[in-house]
C-alpha cells in the first residue's frame, strides 16, 4: 500500500522574504536601490521646478497676506520688462507691430519650403524680433522702455559676467592644466595651488579679493602705486567693480576648468606626441594639431558647467559689494535673493523661471553643438 505524500503546490516566496534572503530579481532590486536617490531628487529638484512655474503666475507677497495669492497670469513677467509705471497700450504703434508680424510669415514659409535651413530661419526671426523690438522701444538707453528697469540691468550684468568669466576662466584654466601636467619636483605644490581656489567657498574668495582690492590698504593698489600707477577705487565705482568681480570669479573658477582639462590631458596617448616628434613637429604644432583637438570633449564639458554656474552668479558679487555700488552688480541671482528677502515670492518665482529658461536655452545650445561635432 503506497503511502501518498501530499505534495504542496510550489509557492513563490513573497517580496519581503525574498528581500530578506537576498533573492530579488534584478529589476526589483534596482528599483529599490534607486528609490532613495530618485525620491530626493524629485522632492528637492523636480517639485520646486513645477511649483516655481505655478507660483510665477500668482501674486504672492508674504508681507501682505490680506491681499491673498490671486492668479495674475503673466503680470509678473510684464512687470519685469515694463516696470511698474508703464502700462502696455494695446494700440501703441500698432502698424509697426503688424509689419513685424507680417515679416515673420514669409520667413516661416521659406523654411517650410526648404529654401532656408531651420537654423537660418531661427536666426533671421530672432534678428527681426530684435530690430522691431528696438523700433518699438524695447531697448536700454535714451528713449527706451528698459532705461531704468531693474530686471534689464540684472539681466545684462549677468550676461556680461557669463561671457567675460567663462572666456576668462578658460583662457586661464588651459595654461594651468598644461602646467599641472608637466613633470616637475614642484608639481605637488602646483596641484595644491590648483585645488585651493576650487575648494575655497565662493564667499571666502569674494571676501579675500574684496580685501586685496581695497582701495587704500589693499595689496593690489599698493603694488600699482609702487609701479607708479594710481589704482582706482575698485569697489566704489561701477566699471572697476565689474572688473574686480570678474577677476575674482575667474580666479575662483579657472581651477575647476583647469582640473577638468587636466583629466583630458592625462587621457591623451603619449605615443601620439612621440610620433609627432619623429615626424618633426614642433611644440606649437603638437599643441594645435594633437592637444587641442583631443581636448575638445573636456573643453565642452568645462564650458557647459562653467556657463551654467555663471548664470547663477550670486556669492561673489554679494560678498564683495552686496550687489553694489548702487545696483550695478545686482546679477539675476542677487535680484532673486533680494526679491525673496522683500517677501515678494511671486516675483522672485517669475525671475527664477527666466533664469531657468536661460540655462535651458544654453544647455540645449551646447548639447546641439556637441552632437553635431
Amino acid at each position: 500500500m503506497a503511502r501518498t505524500v501530499p505534495t504542496l503546490p510550489y509557492r513563490k516566496p513573497g517580496f519581503w522574504r525574498r528581500l530578506r534572503t537576498g533573492n530579488l530579481s534584478d529589476g526589483q532590486l534596482a528599483v529599490l536601490l534607486l528609490l532613495p536617490a530618485l525620491l530626493t531628487l524629485a522632492a528637492v529638484m523636480l517639485y520646486p521646478m513645477l511649483t516655481v512655474l505655478w507660483q510665477s503666475l500668482h501674486f504672492n507677497r508674504l508681507n501682505q497676506p490680506f491681499r491673498g495669492t490671486p492668479f495674475i497670469g503673466l503680470d509678473n513677467f510684464r512687470r519685469m520688462l515694463w516696470g511698474d509705471g508703464l502700462q502696455w497700450n494695446a494700440s501703441h504703434l500698432l502698424w509697426l507691430r503688424l509689419v513685424g508680424l507680417a515679416a515673420l510669415a514669409p520667413l516661416a514659409w521659406a523654411v517650410r519650403r526648404r529654401w532656408l535651413s531651420r537654423f537660418a530661419g531661427v536666426v533671421l526671426a530672432l534678428a527681426l524680433v530684435l530690430v522691431f523690438g528696438y523700433l518699438l522701444g524695447f531697448h536700454p538707453g535714451a528713449g527706451g522702455r528698459w532705461t531704468d528697469s531693474r530686471f534689464w540691468n540684472s539681466f545684462s550684468i549677468t550676461m556680461l559676467i557669463i561671457v567675460a568669466s567663462v572666456a576668462g576662466s578658460f583662457l586661464v584654466g588651459l595654461p594651468l592644466a598644461l602646467l599641472a601636467n608637466v613633470e616637475s619636483r614642484l608639481r605637488w605644490l602646483g596641484r595644491v595651488a590648483l585645488l585651493l581656489p576650487w575648494a575655497m567657498p565662493r564667499v571666502f574668495a569674494g571676501l579675500t579679493f574684496a580685501w586685496l582690492f581695497q582701495s587704500q590698504y589693499g595689496v593690489i593698489n599698493d603694488v600699482l602705486r609702487r609701479i607708479g600707477l594710481d589704482g582706482p577705487l575698485w569697489l566704489a565705482r561701477v566699471g572697476p567693480a565689474i572688473a574686480a568681480v570678474n577677476i575674482t570669479i575667474v580666479w575662483k573658477t579657472s581651477s575647476f576648468v583647469g582640473l577638468i582639462l587636466l583629466a583630458g590631458l592625462q587621457s591623451i596617448d603619449a605615443s601620439l606626441y612621440e610620433a609627432a616628434v619623429v615626424d618633426g613637429a614642433n611644440a606649437w604644432q603638437r599643441f594645435w594639431r594633437i592637444t587641442l583637438p583631443l581636448l575638445r570633449p573636456s573643453i565642452a564639458v568645462a564650458l557647459i558647467f562653467r556657463t551654467l554656474t555663471a548664470i547663477q552668479t550670486f556669492d561673489i558679487p554679494f560678498a564683495m559689494t552686496r550687489g553694489g555700488p548702487g545696483r550695478s552688480l545686482e546679477t539675476l541671482g542677487v535680484y532673486i535673493y533680494n526679491s525673496t528677502l522683500a517677501l515678494n515670492i511671486g516675483y522672485a518665482a517669475a525671475l527664477s523661471v527666466v533664469l531657468f529658461l536661460i540655462s535651458l536655452a544654453i544647455t540645449i545650445f551646447y548639447l546641439r553643438w556637441i552632437y553635431t561635432e
Binding site: 537576498g22 507660483q55 602646467l179 602646483g190 567657498p201 564667499v203 571676501l207 590698504y217
Partner: protein
C-alpha cells in the same frame, strides 16, 4: 630655455593659487591698527594671535563651526549612502533604460540651484503639502471630521534639516556619477565567484563589493563635503537665526554696514579654510580623480 619657461609658469601658478590665502593669513596676524598704515606692511610687525581669540568672542563662531560640521557631515553621509545604492544599481543590475536614468540624474545638476530657493523656502516655512492638503480637505468635506482640514509641513527654517535635505540633493548627481563609474571598474567575476561560494547577493555586495569600493566612496564623500561646506545662498536664506548659521554665512556677520573689520574677517576665513586645506593636502589625488570621473563621463 623651455625648462626656465616651465619653471616660471609653475611659479606663477603657485603664486596665483596660494597668494590670496597667504595674504589672508598674514592679515590675520596683524593688529587692526597696523592694517590702516600707509604704506602698508607686508609682513606683520608684531605678529599676534589676538584676532583668533576675538573671532570667537565677537560672534558665536564655535557654534558656526559646529553647525557647518553637523550639516556637512550629515549631508555627506546621506548623500554617499543614496548615491552608492543608486550607483550600484546603475552599474551592475540588468535594468531597462539605466543609461537614460543616469543621464537624467546627471542632467539635474544642470538645474539652477537658485530656482530651488523660492519653492523650498515656501515649503520649509510651513506651507501646504502638495498632495495631502487638498486630499484631507476633500475627506473633511465628506465627513471625516476627525482629520485636520489643512496639512502643513513643519516649519523647518532655522533647523539643520533645512540645509541637510537640499545639500543631499545638490551633491547627489555628481556623487552618483562618480560611484557608478567606480562600480563599473570592479570586475563582475569577483561578485559571481562569491555567489558561487555560497554567499547571497546581498552578502556578496557586503563582503566583496563594499571593501573594494572604499576609495570611490571616499572620493565621492570629499566632493559632497566640500560642496556642502561651501554652500552659501540656501544657508543664508533658510537659517537666519544667529545660532543656526553656517561658517560662510556667519562670516558675513562680522561685516558691518560700513566698517570692515578686516583683521577679524581674515582670521575667521583662515579658520574656515583649514578643513579644506587639510582635505586637499591628504586627498589631492582622490579629488582630482573624482572630479575627472565626472568630467570625462559627463
Amino acid at each position: 630655455m623651455r625648462y626656465v619657461a616651465v619653471r616660471l609658469g609653475l611659479l606663477l601658478m603657485i603664486v596665483n593659487g596660494l597668494f590670496p590665502a597667504v595674504w589672508l593669513f598674514l592679515t590675520s596676524l596683524k593688529t587692526e591698527n597696523e592694517l590702516t598704515r600707509i604704506p602698508i606692511t607686508y609682513l606683520p610687525l608684531h605678529a599676534t594671535l589676538h584676532n583668533y581669540v576675538a573671532v570667537f568672542t565677537a560672534n558665536p563662531f564655535a557654534r558656526f563651526l559646529l553647525n557647518s560640521a553637523v550639516v556637512s557631515l550629515a549631508a555627506t553621509l546621506v548623500c554617499v549612502l543614496f548615491a552608492s545604492l543608486a550607483g550600484y544599481a546603475l552599474a551592475r543590475l540588468r535594468l531597462r533604460g539605466r543609461k537614460a536614468i543616469l543621464t537624467a540624474i546627471v542632467m539635474t545638476s544642470m538645474f539652477p540651484a537658485l530656482v530651488m530657493l523660492v519653492p523650498l523656502y515656501r515649503l520649509f516655512v510651513g506651507a501646504e503639502v502638495p498632495l495631502l492638503t487638498p486630499l484631507f480637505g476633500y475627506l473633511h468635506a465628506l465627513g471625516w471630521g476627525f482629520l485636520p482640514t489643512t496639512v502643513l509641513t513643519p516649519n523647518l527654517l532655522n533647523t539643520y534639516w533645512a540645509l541637510i535635505i537640499p545639500y543631499v540633493a545638490l551633491s547627489l548627481p555628481i556623487t552618483t556619477l562618480i560611484l557608478t563609474s567606480f562600480f563599473q571598474l570592479i570586475p563582475e567575476d569577483l561578485e559571481s565567484a562569491a555567489t558561487v561560494d555560497g554567499a547571497s547577493r546581498v552578502g556578496a555586495l557586503y563582503r566583496v563589493v563594499a571593501p573594494l569600493s572604499a576609495p570611490g566612496v571616499v572620493t565621492a564623500g570629499i566632493i559632497a563635503f566640500v560642496n556642502s561646506w561651501n554652500e552659501f545662498l540656501l544657508a543664508l536664506t533658510f537659517n537666519t537665526a544667529t545660532t543656526m548659521r553656517t561658517v560662510p554665512v556667519g562670516i558675513t556677520l562680522y561685516q558691518g554696514e560700513f566698517a570692515f573689520p578686516w583683521a577679524l574677517i581674515s582670521a575667521a576665513v583662515t579658520i574656515g579654510i583649514v578643513p579644506l586645506v587639510l582635505l586637499i593636502l591628504f586627498f589631492q589625488q582622490r579629488i582630482i580623480s573624482g572630479l575627472t570621473a565626472g568630467g570625462v563621463k559627463g
